[in-house]
Amino acid sequence: MGIYKIIILVFLMVFNADARPISYSGGTTIMYKSDTFNDSIYLHYSPTYKYSIGLERVKNKFYKNTENYFRFTYLVNRKNTDISQRNLYFQSGVLVDDADGFFYGMHGDWETRRWFSGFGYKDTKNTFGQDYTDQYIQLGVAPYVGDYGDLHTWIMIKTKKNSLTNTQSTYPELKFFKGPTLVKFGYSDKTEWDLHLMYRF
């Protein structure tokens, strides 16, 4: 990883916080994600706001296989202020049927009611003998600031890179959420659709 990437990651870690990979205490979340590399369904439960445990079923489009992961996400650091929240998370997962396949990484976010930034880094050791990394950086702005229960809208830009496919793309995203439901989608001519659906209960 280049020095500029490290600087950007450190900057985001220090000054900034993403969508919530851990719910409120006692919360359950179901997510569907689809991009050029994976389709996944992920169900997690948060006993406390500090961590979540879950199961993810991933259809890998590159290897044309399907894998199931036990996942664990831990909130390493959070800073609350009157106008912002910053989070740093450790994420991990291990294949249900083969401990040689696993991933780990960090992701973080910082947001106010108007601004959002986030980053993620994930290192995957798979059972095909090819390790790879996923990285992304995301910035967003809310065109209007909604009240509790309103439809909230975010206009975002995301840069992501996958070392296995050796693709890097930067593309716009739109994120909407209302109540317990979130929909996010982006499109790039290189990596095509990036879709994220989430429901929390």
Partner: protein
Amino acid sequence: MKKILLTLLLASPLAWAEQDHANMHDHSHEGHLHDTMVDGKNLDVSAERFDAFMNELTNVNVAVVSVKGMVCDFCARGIAKTFEKDKTVQKIDVDLDNGKVLIAYSKSKDINYSEIEKKILSNGQSMSDLQILEI
């Protein structure tokens, strides 16, 4: 004449409520229900919002909780869910703009700072202030 004015004032539910707010100044309604408490702290709850919140509520005390880190709807949803489990809670309102949560408790409830703080913390936010309006 003064007696009539005083009677009218007391007949108004809002004014009546203020009479019970021993710890508050009963003035200033310029967009806010009460701008300043006796302790000098700002309440920062809009009169319109408070009136809507209090609509059809009787026999309650209101906790106005200042929350740090309540920057999105998802964050606030957990707080609302936690307090809704308390049977003495009659109503909850989240004011994201001002980082406040209004909680109407039954009169019988002894509103406890550390209990509320603990619930806020259990959702990953932090409480910076609590003001109790005895209505």
